[in-house]
């Protein structure tokens, strides 16, 4: 008699079959990216809601739909991003595919070198004439489409035939296949694919600095939608391409933004294109909401185009606002103690007024960590603050008492006017300065830089410091320098700040440790 197959054994076999079936599906599984859509920002919805409550707009939902439609017309969808071409651009510059036409020869050479490395596997297979084995590279769906549709069939048939019979500018099919990979410039769609993998989790789908991991990083990721970027080489303007590329290559040291230099130049230029698209889209959205509310819910096409043009002009103006230094930059080994002392005086003085935010010791403690202190006026009714007060801490703005002339008196005999007093403020992205004792809705604040950490996110070259001090940091409370400060003053400040960082650098700890070790060893030898 045949043995009965038990129920347990049947269950085991069936589960094994189901498991193997599922696993086989997992092979070759690729998540589809096309279902992501751009949404309108929270502030857009808030403004429309407020307009509705104030009676300015009858149907905020319809306005939102109009704005969404306008933005899609200008910038495409998340699955197919692209720019709408203005009449002025036709024949002049084709922005529809990204920043391709804005690059110079040097950039293209670098892109080609990068592509030779990025597509090394594909190129080696092509050069070995193993065309059918060429496999799809990452973030290159349009390249792959071109390969499979335009190149591969001809190559499999006859690789040495001319690529295009009617056009002698093309070489053989084999040569063109190689050129396809070497000269590839990413489309906006490919860059959006890469953005989704590497950037979206912090910077968000629309570049709002509101991705799923944004709440867990400090400082918060950049919200592109204001068009303001901190670490640029331009004077209070939208950035140049090179500035965005620089951040991608160098990262922002000390923040969660790493360097992406492991990617090829072409990929990085493509990401710059896409970030710019998101930024411009964000800026246009903000302007369109204003216009729609002013128009009582009606958004005419002319206003859409005007705003689009307006934002593009700001971005195009960036190279004209580039900041460079006249003359040479003083080198670190040329710095004299007098220069450092001068820097210190400026730092603690009221013309540059650095200490009021960065604290007298450069720790970024500014005003809030200072205790309120009552100081009795002296016989003349003036408040005279001494070195002790400066070190112990005092809340600058809360007891500015005036002398006879109407100005409070500070140490060193400088006088202080109301404007010089540190103000409590939010930066343009709505992130509160923690020193103000104000934290934003999510509990974030941002300190003025603590120089003792010796981490400078925008770069630590003297030129970078020069730019921050002279022109401020765009979008933040860090202001441009007072016009009284000369370039020499600024270099003194730069090297003074670097000296604070130097004193507290982590390498000092190691030197002390080594010194202790050496002295212990010497001791043992006796």
């Amino acid at each position: 008699m045949k043995p009965q197959v038990s129920n347990r054994s049947k269950l085991r076999t069936v589960s094994l079959g189901v498991l193997l079936g599922c696993l086989s599906q997992a092979c070759g599984f690729e998540p589809q990216a096309g279902t992501i859509h751009y949404s309108l920002s929270d502030s857009t919805h808030a403004r429309l809601r407020r307009a509705y409550e104030d009676g300015e707009v009858a149907n905020p939902g319809a306005v939102a739909v109009q704005i969404q439609g306008a933005l899609e017309m200008l910038f495409g969808s998340a699955a197919e991003p692209g720019y709408m071409l203005l009449d002025d651009w036709i024949g002049e510059i084709d922005r529809s595919a990204g920043g391709y036409e804005e690059l110079d020869d040097a950039a293209f050479d670098a892109i080609k070198v990068g592509n030779a490395r990025r597509f090394k596997m594909q190129l080696q297979l092509v050069e070995a004439r193993r065309y059918a084995e060429v496999y799809r590279p990452f973030y290159a769906q349009d390249l792959w489409l071109e390969w499979t549709e335009d190149h591969l069939p001809g190559l499999l048939e006859n690789p040495d035939a001319p690529y295009d019979e009617s056009d002698p500018d093309y070489g053989t099919r084999h040569e063109e296949a190689i050129a396809l990979f070497i000269s590839h410039y990413p489309t906006l769609r490919e860059s959006s694919d890469m953005y989704r993998q590497h950037c979206l989790h912090c910077h968000g789908n629309e570049g709002g600095g509101n991705g799923p991991t944004a709440d867990f990083v400090s400082p918060r990721p950049r919200d592109y939608r204001l068009g303001k970027f901190k670490w640029t080489a331009v004077d209070r303007n939208q950035p140049r391409r090179e500035d965005l590329l620089n951040i991608l290559e160098q990262g922002a040291k000390g923040s969660a933004m790493p360097s992406f230099m492991r990617f090829s130049r072409g990929q990085l230029e493509g990401l710059v294109d896409y970030v710019r698209l998101l930024a411009i889209r964000g800026e246009v959205e903000t302007l369109l909401v204003g216009d729609a509310i002013d128009g009582e819910g009606d958004l005419p096409a002319s206003s859409v185009l005007v705003n689009y043009e307006f934002v593009w002009e700001k971005w195009d103006a960036a190279p004209g606002k580039y900041v460079a230094v006249e003359g040479d930059v003083p080198r670190a080994h040329e710095v004299t103690p007098e220069m450092l002392e001068h820097g210190r005086e400026l730092f603690l003085g009221t013309v540059a007024n650095c200490f009021s935010c960065h604290g007298p010791d450069g720790r970024g403690a500014g005003v809030s960590l200072f205790e309120l202190k009552e100081i009795d006026p002296d016989a003349d009714g003036a408040i005279v603050l001494t070195e002790d007060d400066l070190v112990a801490g005092w809340m600058f703005k809360d007891f500015v008492k005036t002398d006879d002339a109407g100005n409070p008196v500070l140490v060193d005999g400088h006088t202080v006017t109301e404007e010089k007093v540190a103000r409590h403020k939010l930066d343009d992205w709505g992130i509160a300065r923690e020193t103000a004792g104000i934290l934003d809705a999510k509990g974030f604040g941002s300190n003025p830089r603590n120089f003792q950490q010796s981490i400078f996110r925008g770069g630590s070259r003297p030129l970078d410091f020069y730019r921050r001090i002279k022109y401020g940091i765009y979008g933040t409370v860090m202001p441009a320098a007072a016009p009284e400060l000369t370039d020499d003053d600024i270099w003194s400040l730069v090297y003074f700040v670097l000296s604070i960082a130097e004193e507290h650098d982590v390498a000092r700890e190691y030197e002390k440790k080594l010194a202790r070790f050496d002295s212990e060893t010497e001791h043992e030898e006796h």
Binding site: A128, K253, A256, M261, Y322, R461, A507
Partner: protein
């Protein structure tokens, strides 16, 4: 069922050995540019020692692997057959157990003594004593940063030269660097140099190597550090001393740039 079980274990043995024998192209077929599962050629001075230990241990393990897997396959096949009658109660074989504990223990001691000098040469603090510190390497999520002392020869001063992603070193010289981490555990791993060192936050760890050949080598992170661990890569570029000095000059010029060249 008996046959399936036996064949499964036999397959394990076959795959295990096949993957080593055909280590160049196992399951991949011929790969362009020398890509393979196996180690690339080493270029560091202690690479030979590491490779020797690796090969020795691999052969040793092969012997044990074939022996134990063979025994396992044989037992699975022989003893999975249904039998009649009472089971045999065995008290074990004391002599056999002593032998198969003693021999591996002795072998482990042998391996331990064999690797001692290599470990000391590479990892002990004494290995870097007296050698001049060349650079500092910072691991952070998810990139590698490098810092060279400037003219003053001290680190952490205003004239330091900083580099992201690319670590340029001269060939045929003892390169000593301090490894630090900004945030979490990382690991500095250069396969071609046979060098791996964990970067521990809060610690400064001296590491050294000496590359005998010029070239561009991969640097990867070998300690899980977050979602970007897989892409946390860098590049070690080994060049001649003259080229290195020129590189430092170029980087210094870049550092003190006044921005006019980008006008």
């Amino acid at each position: 069922m008996r046959l399936i079980a036996t064949l499964l274990f036999a397959a394990l043995l076959v795959f295990g050995i096949w993957s080593f024998v055909d280590s160049e192209t196992f399951l991949l077929g011929p790969m362009p540019d020398g890509y393979s599962w196996w180690w690339p050629e080493y270029t560091s001075t202690f690479g030979g020692d590491i490779d020797f230990l690796f090969t020795f241990i691999s052969w040793l393990i092969l012997v044990f692997f074939v022996g134990t897997m063979g025994a396992l396959i044989m037992f699975v096949f022989k003893y999975s057959k249904k039998r009649e009658g009472k089971a045999v109660f065995s008290h074990g074989n004391h002599k056999l157990e002593m032998i198969w504990t003693g021999i591996p223990a002795a072998l482990l001691l042998i391996i331990a003594f064999m690797q001692m000098t290599t470990w000391a040469d590479i990892k002990f603090a004494g290995a870097t004593a007296g050698k001049q510190l060349f650079a500092e390497v910072f691991a952070s999520q998810f990139d590698w940063r490098f810092r060279y002392p400037g003219i003053d020869g001290r680190f952490g001063t205003a004239d330091d030269i900083e580099s992201v992603y690319e670590f340029v070193v001269p060939v045929d010289e003892d390169i000593v660097f301090n490894l630090r981490s900004h945030d979490v555990l990382h690991s500095f791993f250069v396969p071609v140099l046979r060098l791996k060192q964990d970067a521990v936050p809060g610690m400064t760890i001296p590491v050294w190597f000496n590359s005998m050949e010029e070239g561009t080598f991969d640097l990867i992170c070998a300690e899980l550090c977050g979602w970007g661990h897989y892409k946390m890569a860098g590049r070690i570029t080994v060049v001649s001393r003259a080229e290195f000095d020129q590189w430092i000059v170029d980087k210094t010029a870049e550092k003190y740039s006044n921005g006019q060249e980008n006008q």
